[in-house]
């Protein structure tokens, strides 16, 4: 818990300096006070854990976001084409995608990636997996999500099965 508090304080200070860019002692002092307040509030809220402070995986997450952005761009054209076609042939489909990730934050990463990718929206998440609503039938193949799930799990430093 102390470890998380220290990491959170450091990251928040970095965040403050990024936003502020004033390096006068007074303003930086205000920044430190604000950071302490924020960490204290998180402590009182009892949310100082690995989900609030997932900054240990920053590098892998940045790489994953880069890959994800390319996927999003690729998937977008199919949806734009479906939307703009005069007859608009779509076939909404529901499917359940298993979640190989162990931690909740890995599952969140996976579900959010599915939602970010156009054409698929994660509607519900439970023990069985993620209920996905796909806009086109060819997007509704559970095998397509395996790579994304592995990468999403890897991005938060966990080995996916």
């Amino acid at each position: 818990m102390v470890r998380y508090a220290i990491i959170l304080a450091l990251v928040m200070l970095l965040y403050w300096l990024t936003l502020s860019f004033y390096f006068e002692p007074l303003i930086v002092g205000f920044g430190i006070a604000s950071v302490l307040f924020a960490v204290g509030l998180c402590y009182r809220m009892r949310i100082l854990d690995s989900e609030t402070v997932p900054y240990m995986h920053t590098m892998t997450t940045i790489g994953y976001f880069g890959w994800l952005f390319l996927e999003v761009v690729k998937a977008n054209f199919a949806v734009v084409k479906a939307v703009l076609r005069p007859d608009m042939e779509i076939s909404p489909t529901l499917l359940t995608v298993p979640t190989p990730q162990k931690t909740d934050i890995g599952k969140t990463m996976f579900a959010n990636s599915i939602t970010l990718t156009p054409g698929t929206v994660s509607m519900d998440i439970d023990d069985d997996g993620i209920l996905v609503h796909a806009l086109l039938a060819e997007m509704a193949d559970p095998d397509d999500f395996v790579e994304m799930g592995q990468r999403a799990g890897f991005s938060v430093s966990e080995v996916s099965s």
């Binding site: 818990m1 402590y43 009182r44 009892r46 949310i47 909740d104």
Partner: protein, 276 residues
């Protein structure tokens, strides 16, 4: 259309793209306002008010009133939506229809006020006109004086906190009074007074209103607990609020909704936090 605005607004000191954005935003504001008036689902109305505030904020940005835009976005689109929703939870999801005859008076007032405003448009100075009263009057003196008087880059803050300190103090007091009024009527824990509400057919009396209740067991919300909540746990303000009744209730985990009948049992275990 554009020439009309130019004619009404005076010389063409506005650059057309900004003007187009202004017109588009104003048109959307009018549409949203009509939707709010026409709609009877309160939930949708609250959401549309957020939309309205957000577009107001965008419009203020194009007018270079960044501080106002920020306030509008934070207050109007942010927290007031939540407060409205929580207030709506106490009342109803639908508003009662208002007859056409009752709307005649307000309609007349609106039409008259709108007509008066349109009548006044030609007298308005153009946007950004250097000779307008706003830019030649005492406002400019403050703008120039603040540079040496207060030495703060943001004139708005200088005026707000320094030149018009009284005004801002009164504003703060107004907010304080608003909070005080709500607290006097409802209480921080929501069970002060003898107030009674009908929430979706369920009667809520002051006796049966929910009290502050600590998370009773770990299996209730296993995900919300940090790994080791009790070592170096924050000082619990009400430590002895883990009553047997509540524990039993949590262990039984009734699938049905918590009925009002169960509340009095939990009541005598309630903490001192209730505003009484």
């Amino acid at each position: 259309m554009l020439s009309f605005i130019y004619a009404a607004g005076g010389p063409a000191t506005i650059s057309p793209p900004t003007l187009i954005i202004d017109i588009a935003l104003m048109a959307m504001l009018v549409v949203v306002a009509f939707a709010i008036v026409r709609m009877r689902s309160l939930f949708a109305i609250v959401m549309l008010q957020g939309v309205y505030s957000l577009m107001c904020a965008a419009w203020f940005v194009t007018l270079d009133a960044v501080d106002v835009a920020f306030t509008e976005a934070a207050v109007g689109a942010g927290i007031s939506t939540v407060l409205m929703l929580s207030a709506m939870l106490l009342t109803d999801r639908q508003s009662a229809p208002v007859g056409a005859k009752k709307s005649l008076g307000p309609l007349l007032v609106c039409v008259l006020a709108g007509a008066a405003m349109f009548y006044a448009i030609p007298d308005m100075p153009a946007y950004g006109d250097a000779n307008s009263p706003a830019n030649t009057g005492p406002g400019m003196e403050y703008m120039t004086a603040a540079v040496t008087d207060v030495e703060i880059p943001n004139i708005v803050t200088a005026v707000l906190a320094s030149y018009r300190g009284y005004d801002t103090m009164a504003e703060t007091v107004v907010i304080f009074m608003a909070g005080l009024g709500v607290l006097l009527l409802l209480g921080l824990n929501g069970n002060a007074g003898f107030w009674q509400a009908k929430v979706q057919g369920q009667n809520i009396f002051s006796l049966t209103a929910p009290r502050t209740r600590i998370l009773t067991s770990t299996e209730d919300k296993p995900e919300t607990e940090p790994p080791a909540p009790d070592e170096a746990a924050p000082p619990k303000p009400k430590p002895k609020r883990k009553p047997a009744a509540a524990k039993k209730r949590a262990a039984k985990k009734p699938a049905a909704k918590k009925t009002a009948a169960k509340k009095p049992a939990a009541k005598k275990t309630g903490g001192k936090g209730s505003a009484s």
